[in-house]
């Protein structure tokens, strides 16, 4: 879609963060995803224009990083960790069960456009394994049933809240704006730390 003037001025403000404008390419790609849902040709052309780069150069960067999508994902993009530790502890079972439950393959999207599924690599929450991310929010200590409930809720427009995150799960596009560095004012919501994070401290204080 065509970009609105206010969106273009946000892009200018992103570029202004950096000493050299080419550095803005990654937040600009996140920003394009917040508008279009994925990296569209129009987005690539506009970024190229803004940064004085050929579209091939922008595409070369975009295709290097797995978070930039070349086709639409669901409103709720579900990433299931299948790196060794999560896989062994149940991630493989969760991944297989959810694909079957939704009738889609890896990188697939449900027909209603609500949910997509991708197996992901280690997401830095191994003490909460098995871990699932939705729109890159934490869903800790998951089971096959909890993730089925999660995707069913998402399809009905009523997903459960992240374990460590805002009170309500935001959409893929909304969270893409956060990744572009545009605040949504939700930083103060949610826990400061989950139980495993606090375990060592509690042992010292004698509370666990």
């Amino acid at each position: 879609m065509a970009f609105k003037p206010e969106q273009i001025s946000i892009m200018d403000s992103i570029i202004a963060r950096y000493p050299r404008k080419r550095s803005a390419i990654m937040p600009l790609l996140h920003y394009v995803q917040s508008i279009d849902g994925y990296v569209t040709n129009e987005g690539i052309e506009l970024i190229g224009e803004k940064l004085e780069l050929a579209t091939a150069e922008v595409t070369a960067v975009s295709t290097f990083y797995t978070q930039y999508k070349s086709k639409p994902v669901g409103e709720y993009h579900v990433g299931i960790c299948t790196n060794t530790l999560c896989a062994v502890m149940g991630g493989d079972m969760i991944f297989d069960a959810v694909k079957e439950h939704l009738g889609i393959e890896n990188d697939g999207v449900t027909n209603d456009g609500k949910v997509s599924v991708e197996h992901i690599e280690c997401n830095a929450a191994c003490d909460y394994a098995p871990v699932v991310m939705v729109n890159w929010e934490f869903y800790d200590n998951q089971t096959v049933q909890s993730v089925k409930d999660l995707v069913d809720g998402a399809r009905n427009g009523n997903p459960p809240a992240p374990t460590r995150g805002p009170k309500t799960l935001r959409t893929w596009k909304q969270n893409s704006a956060v990744l572009a560095g545009i605040s949504d004012g939700l930083a103060n919501e949610g826990l400061q730390a989950g139980e495993p994070t606090l375990l060592g401290l509690k042992k010292v204080k004698g509370g666990a």
Binding site: R17, R22, E121, A124, D127, Q145, G181, Q192, A193, T197
Partner: protein, 434 residues
């Protein structure tokens, strides 16, 4: 329980620990006032004297890294935080930034002042939206409090700090790939020398430090070298975060002096999953050669782990019990390295692909004993033959698992399949659905 030493984690149990008010209530930002009253070189010397070593894996002395930045060169200097935590098993910087982003920002201000940088970046992984929110908010609040921007605390020091969000590439945790990524290119490692201290971001002198390293600096400034040196071992000073995960009763973060052992950490935390026994573990993420139950008393400091044949790495202690197939574990890690190889160097790009092919056959009970030697031969042609350490990391689990568990590979061949039941290793097998 006296073995644990919560410093970074000391106030994580307070509900507002991530806010500027919560941080200041516990003495936050007092170190920056102290630091800005010192000469930059004094600060570099202080960090050198403390013996603080990089907590991101390599263990390089932080103060020396700062000291390598040429002074009086009339060039811009840059201070960059590596917050691209992605090494499998590693989960310390992410909860740190979620629970207390301000301690990182305070460390950035001090580090930037010491190396005479007026521009700093935090390069954070892109798959952690809520952590991005917390760090972004913390930066905005620090600006509003006069701790970032022009003339910080009226001391004449200017610093711009930008949060840069990655997009899902493990390789960007390698410092030169991170810099290429931050410059707006594909994240691919550079040939060194020149090192970033001479030609880093935009070819200007640059320090790249791990989150935990930078976050450790305010406490050192406040409490001094003697306090820091009282913790740890002869060459590995101070406290650090150990992350315990996998088949243990209570996974989590444990802040302790360097040199604690896995046996001690298991005793403190509640041990290996009940009814099971330790089979193998990583001392510092998947790129560090695995250990077995013979290594429970290895001191977990840089020298101790190295002497026992592995690396301290990120102190990501991934614990696997006897229900886990080591071949499956190694195959999965190898698939990760193949996926994350940036493709720049042929030995890594092609080699990791072949490693996966051979391991897949072995896990399925196909192939022959000669394939085990082929794996080692491939590793030999990958290790040390690429620009960065990703390739070395790919070889580590293979070589070490063949060293300790060769028979288990052979058991796959004689059975014609994997002899393990994957259900038995899941949490659901014992705990049931939560």
């Amino acid at each position: 329980m006296s073995k644990l030493t919560p410093v970074l984690s000391a106030h994580w149990d307070e509900a507002d620990s991530f806010t500027i008010a919560g941080y200041k209530r516990n003495g936050g930002y007092s170190a920056v006032a102290k630091a800005l009253a010192m000469a930059p070189d004094e600060l570099i010397q202080l960090v050198k004297d403390s013996g603080l070593r990089g907590r991101g894996g390599a263990g390089f002395p932080t103060g020396s890294k700062w000291g390598f930045i040429p002074q009086g060169d009339n060039k811009e200097h840059y201070f960059v935080v590596n917050a691209d935590e992605s090494e499998p098993g590693t989960c310390k910087d992410t909860p740190l930034m979620m629970a207390n982003p301000h301690v990182l920002i305070e460390g950035v201000i001090i580090g930037s002042y010491a190396i005479r940088a007026n521009y700093a970046f935090i390069y954070i992984r892109g798959e952690v939206t809520h952590v991005v929110r917390r760090v972004q908010q913390a930066i905005e609040d620090a600006y509003a409090a006069g701790l970032l921007g022009k003339n910080i605390l009226g001391k004449g020091f200017d610093l711009e700090l930008v949060l840069h969000v990655g997009a899902g590439a493990y390789i960007c945790g390698e410092e030169t790939a991170l810099l290429d990524s931050l410059e707006g290119f594909r994240g691919q490692p550079r040939l060194r020398p020149p090192f970033p201290a001479i030609a880093g971001l935009y070819a200007k002198p640059t320090v790249v430090n791990n989150v935990e390293s930078v976050a450790s600096v305010p406490a050192i400034v406040n409490n001094g070298v003697a306090w820091f040196n009282a913790m740890g071992t002869e060459k590995s000073k101070g406290f650090t975060l150990y992350s315990l995960s996998g088949h243990v009763n209570n996974p989590g973060q444990f802040e302790a002096p360097l040199g604690i052992t896995l046996r001690e950490l298991l005793e403190i935390s509640g041990g290996v999953r009940s009814g099971h026994k330790l089979k193998f573990w990583t001392p510092g993420g998947s790129s560090t050669p695995i250990f077995t139950d013979a290594h429970l008393d290895v001191p977990l400091d840089y020298e101790g782990v190295s002497a026992a044949g592995s690396m301290l790495g990120t102190k990501a202690l991934q614990i696997f019990d006897e229900t886990t197939c080591v071949v499956r574990a190694v195959l999965r890690w190898t698939e990760f390295y193949k996926h994350e190889s940036c493709g720049k160097c042929t030995p890594c790009r092609e080699g990791t692909w072949w490693l996966v092919q051979v391991l897949k056959d072995l896990e399925a009970g196909k192939g022959t004993e000669a394939d085990l030697d082929k794996l080692l031969d491939l590793c030999d042609n990958i290790m040390g033959r690429s620009f960065c350490a990703l390739a070395d990391g790919a070889a580590s689990p293979i070589i070490s698992s063949l060293k300790y568990f060769r028979q288990e590979y052979l058991d796959h061949l004689s059975a014609g399949r994997c002899p393990f039941d994957p259900i038995a290793s899941t949490l659901f097998a014992t705990a049931g659905a939560k």
